[in-house]
């Protein structure tokens, strides 16, 4: 090979790189390892983490422990999916493209919306991208964002980060009421002709199912767009979908739908909207077309919105769609199907409500909010620190303490119960924290 190139050593290929750089380029790291040594090292690291199967987790807050049928990993482990590139050559990417078209359809059906893109990074960036999309749709006189404080704190943080450098944007928070839902009174007072969009969780961060009817009415009456954010899409197996409430943009985190928790990533953000806004949508889109012989096929389409064509005028800088994760969710939703999605949602509701009823019957625990909830609820505890310690000793993580984001809820715990939490486990939780 060297002879073909016409050189005597590979080093000659580097001769044009300044010597001052080359001289200091050595990488000071240990030498390579055998596969066995690598596996042992990683297994050792893995073993010092508490896992959901070994412990008892009642943790949600944007990432959920759900059952994943074996067929999901079987499909996404196929190298034809896992090691392929972005489907820029559609003739040899029909597998990925058709799966993405099916994904888009499933997300539309689940959210009750008309269109969906092929996916974005996560729920938080989906929420931020939704606000930016509204900025493209709404006139420059509307630059005020009304954001529910009951929206996931990470999502609120990411929205704030994304908007900080856009000088025209104004970000206002709407508080929550005693039901744990967005304070509709405050929202109605604040939404006006300068409002660009209202963004609320559905269910929200406290697990509470927002009543979207008055929120949508307040938006519609003032020309503001309604953005819903669903961190737990399993809920949509049972709940009236955002589209049916009149949402303009419906986004969320898709991890719940067949992707392992993996310390919170990778999952994917789903992103749905209405047909009339399609040209303002961020991210990839797959569309149906035909080949030269009239056969159905799928391609990436409306790329004129995207960075590789439009550069600084693109709708977003994004150039990934977390495809392998959206594929996992496509397989997952196909397996569960109509009846499975509903059954799963019902089981979650049933177990979570059962757990809450039993917990709040203990004297030092009470329900923090009165609103209807899906599979998460907030508990107020008399001595939270002590409770957490007792649970840890029993290898239970009873929930997420809320004080880190909400000082007024520093004695509160966000508890999540899914189909993975067996009845006995709930009983054990009640036993340990109910004393």
């Amino acid at each position: 090979m060297l002879r073909t190139i016409g050189i005597d050593s590979i080093e000659e290929l580097y001769q044009h790189i300044p010597e001052t750089l080359r001289n200091r380029a050595k990488i000071n790291l240990p030498g390579g390892l055998t596969e066995l040594a690598v596996r042992r090292r990683l297994a050792a690291l893995a073993s010092s983490n508490a896992t959901a199967p070994d412990w008892s987790f009642f943790l949600g807050g944007g990432i959920y422990y759900h059952f994943i049928p074996s067929a999901v990993d079987a499909v996404i482990s196929r190298s034809e999916f896992a090691t392929s590139y972005t489907p820029y050559q559609p003739e040899v990417s029909q597998g990925t493209l058709q799966a993405l078209f099916e994904y888009q359809t499933l997300i539309c059906q689940l959210t009750g919306m008309e269109i969906s893109n092929a996916g974005v990074y996560d729920g938080a960036s989906a929420a931020a991208e939704a606000v930016l999309m509204s900025r493209r749709i709404q006139p420059a006189s509307r630059r005020r964002v009304l954001m529910s404080r009951a929206l996931h704190p990470h999502y609120r943080a990411v929205i704030a980060t994304y908007l900080r450098n856009l000088a025209d944007m104004q970000l206002d928070e709407i508080t929550f009421d005693a039901s744990g839902a967005t304070d509709v009174g405050e929202l109605t007072r604040k939404v006006d002709k300068q409002s660009m969009c209202v963004i609320v969780g559905y269910p929200n961060f406290f697990g509470v199912i927002e009543d979207l009817a008055p929120i949508q009415a307040a938006c519609a009456g003032n020309g503001a767009q309604l953005i819903t954010v669903t961190p737990e899409p399993v809920a949509l197996g049972l709940l009236k979908p955002p589209g049916a409430w009149g949402a303009d943009i419906a986004v969320g985190e898709g991890q719940s739908l067949g992707v392992p928790m993996t310390l919170g990533g990778p999952g994917f953000g789903f992103f749905a909207s209405q047909k009339r806004f399609v040209r303002s949508l961020p991210g990839r889109l797959v569309g149906e077309t035909v080949d030269t012989e009239g056969r159905r096929g799928f391609v990436l389409t409306l790329a004129t919105r995207e960075q590789h064509i439009r550069r600084e005028k693109a709708t977003s800088n994004i150039c990934t769609s977390q495809t392998l994760c959206t594929l996992a969710s496509t397989v997952y939703m196909s397996l569960l199907g109509k009846s499975g999605m509903r059954r799963l949602a019902e089981v979650n509701v049933s177990r979570a409500h059962d757990a809450r009823d039993r917990l709040v019957s203990r004297p030092h625990l009470e329900a923090c909010f009165s609103g209807a909830f899906f599979n998460e609820f907030v508990l107020r505890a008399r001595n939270l620190e002590n409770l957490l310690q007792r649970c840890a000793a029993a290898r239970i993580v009873p929930g997420v303490p809320l004080g880190q984001w909400y000082p007024e809820l520093d004695d509160c715990l966000l508890v999540c119960v899914t189909e993975m939490n067996e009845r006995e486990e709930i009983e054990r939780l009640v036993g340990v924290i109910g004393d």
């Binding site: 090979m1 290929l13 580097y14 750089l21 380029a25 990488i27 000071n28 240990p30 030498g31 390579g32 390892l33 690598v38 990683l42 297994a43 073993s47 983490n49 959901a52 944007g62 999916f81 896992a82 090691t83 972005t86 040899v92 990417s93 099916e102 359809t105 990470h154 943080a157 990411v158 980060t161 994304y162 856009l166 049972l238 985190e253 928790m261 993996t262 990533g265 889109l285 569309g287 080949d291 096929g297 391609v299 409306l302 960075q307 600084e312 693109a314 800088n317 769609s321 977390q322 495809t323 594929l327 569960l336 199907g337 009846s339 499975g340 509701v349 409500h353 899906f374 993580v397 880190q404």
Partner: protein, 505 residues
């Protein structure tokens, strides 16, 4: 029109069994009411009654009703309609389609990584924190930078994060400035990220030799410029050898230097960005550190900075105190969060595994071999194609379709014809500065035999272009579908299946 076509489709699918050759039906076009691949008995209805009826839906119209085997067959058939690294050579320039070792997949699926929750107390996540902390140190060593955040989900989010850091730093100095200099060879994400960060883009031209010239930068560099974004090696596969001088010009006027680290895979053991005057850098772990591309993500795009910018990095930061790892949330100057939780942890685990497997020599060797392979192809293909820049390249080389023009054959035709030869085409029509570009990045994981076979196919196509151009212009001939009507897809977008019309509207 559409309805008629869909009727024809459904009729024909009713008569003909689905073979490998025919297009698989959509998920929504098969199945039977009540069928599901998921078994779970009903439980007490107790909970559901507390949710008011007006919050509930009746049904999910159109959702699939399939059994497990049906679902598996469907996706297995779809998989057969994909090219992938494990079946085809994928010389996609700038995308770095190297082999993704299997061990990475095995360890990422260990319950101690896959089944852990990000909001669990950090004292029961010490293994994960140690991995992240170690990976930070390793990437700092490889890049020659000082501090890093692993949070960004992908290269483009890394870019945006990096620009936000620059903006926060300059704002604190008293002036956030207005513009970012971006060369004409840059990835499209560079200008898109700049705009998203509230900056105007000043595009500069590269020289006839394909690199940026210090004088050109000096001409546009002023106190309004926040930063220059440089890709090194650039997208032409050339090393920006004046980068230190360019950095000096930018620094002198108070600006910063951003390095798009998409091509870091050419530099390991060769040169460190941290020594080039770079202030901020993102890395694409799915390229250099071989995590699978997954048909378009997930990836990971960590951002590394020089010490002066460390206070602005996203929160949380992982710190080590008394041999324990803790999360630092309280960083008043931080730009905040750019995504939820810890970024794409599963991808970080794979990249870490890759790095410790290869170790120092392995990483350095990977860059050397990537250069060797690219230059080998550069030399061999000169026989049939016009090279864009004749000097030695780094990890990728660029050809054009100039010699094929007289036969009416262009880059797209060549790309499509390659599919018939069983190769994924190179990146085409990018970078934009080269007309009809064919951007070839073989990576280090291919054998000389594969490279030769690819070259042979390319040269055969060059011959066909001369002798029988129609066979090239009408390619591909052997793929599951022929060229697709992209104009039609964009003109009248069909973005989902719709039950109402059998087809989709």
């Amino acid at each position: 029109m559409r309805e008629r076509r869909s009727n024809v489709l459904s009729e024909s699918s009713a008569i003909k069994p689905q073979s490998e050759a025919s297009a698989p039906r959509l998920l929504f076009e098969s199945g039977s009411p009540g069928r599901s691949g998921f078994y779970w008995p009903a439980e007490s209805e107790k909970g559901q009654t507390t949710i008011p009826g007006e919050f509930l839906r009746e049904d999910i119209p159109g959702f699939p009703e399939l059994g497990e085997l049906e679902v598996l067959r469907h996706f297995t058939r779809l998989s057969h309609r994909n090219f992938a690294i494990e079946s085809q050579f994928y010389p996609l320039g700038s995308c770095t389609m190297k082999y993704n070792p299997k061990v990475n997949e095995v360890v990422a699926r260990l319950p101690g990584f896959a089944q852990i929750h990000p909001l669990a107390p950090v004292d029961i996540l010490q293994g994960a924190m140690e991995l992240l902390y170690d990976l930070e140190r390793i990437l700092i060593e490889i890049s020659g930078m000082d501090c890093i955040s692993l949070q960004p989900s992908a290269g483009a989010q890394g870019e945006l994060t990096g620009l936000m850091l620059i903006r926060a730093y300059l704002t604190e100095k008293g002036n956030s400035r207005k513009k970012i200099i971006v060369p004409d060879t840059a990835h499209g994400t560079n200008p898109a990220s700049s705009a998203l960060c509230g900056y105007d883009v000043v595009q500069i031209s590269s020289t006839a030799r394909g690199v940026i010239d210090t004088a050109t930068v000096a001409k546009v560099m002023d106190e309004d410029v926040a930063a220059i974004m440089i890709t090194n090696p650039n997208t032409l596969g050339l090393f920006e050898k004046d980068i230190e001088a360019i950095a000096a010009v930018v620094h002198q006027k108070g600006g910063l230097v951003y390095l798009d680290g998409a091509n870091l895979n050419a530099l390991m053991g060769v040169a460190k960005p941290g020594h080039m005057g770079v202030d901020v850098l993102h890395m694409n772990l799915h390229k250099t550190f071989s995590t699978p591309h997954g048909g378009g993500g997930p990836g990971a795009g960590p951002v590394a900075v020089k010490a002066g910018l460390s206070e602005y990095l996203p929160v949380p930061r992982i710190v080590k105190r008394n041999d324990k790892f803790e999360l630092l949330e309280d960083c008043p100057k931080s730009i905040g969060r750019v995504r939820s939780f810890f970024g794409n942890f599963g991808i970080l685990v794979r990249a870490y595994t890759y790095i410790i497997s290869l170790g120092r020599e392995g990483l350095e060797e990977s860059s050397r071999m990537a250069l060797l392979n690219a230059n080998y192809i550069r030399k061999k293909l000169e026989k049939g194609y016009q090279i864009a820049y004749s000097e030695p390249c780094m990890h990728e080389c660029i050809f054009t379709d100039r010699l094929q023009h007289k036969y009416g054959v262009n880059t797209l035709d060549i790309a499509k014809r390659l599919l018939d030869y069983g190769f994924h085409p190179p990146t085409i029509y990018f970078p934009l500065v080269v007309s009809g570009a064919l951007m070839i990045e073989p990576t280090e994981t291919e054998t000389p035999e594969t490279l030769d076979a690819f070259v042979e196919a390319m040269l055969a196509i060059a011959q066909e272009a001369k002798e029988n151009p129609d066979v090239v212009k009408n390619a591909p001939h052997s793929t599951p579908v022929k060229r697709l009507d992209e104009a039609r897809a964009a003109r009248k977008p069909i973005l989902r299946w719709d039950s109402g019309q059998g087809g989709a509207e």
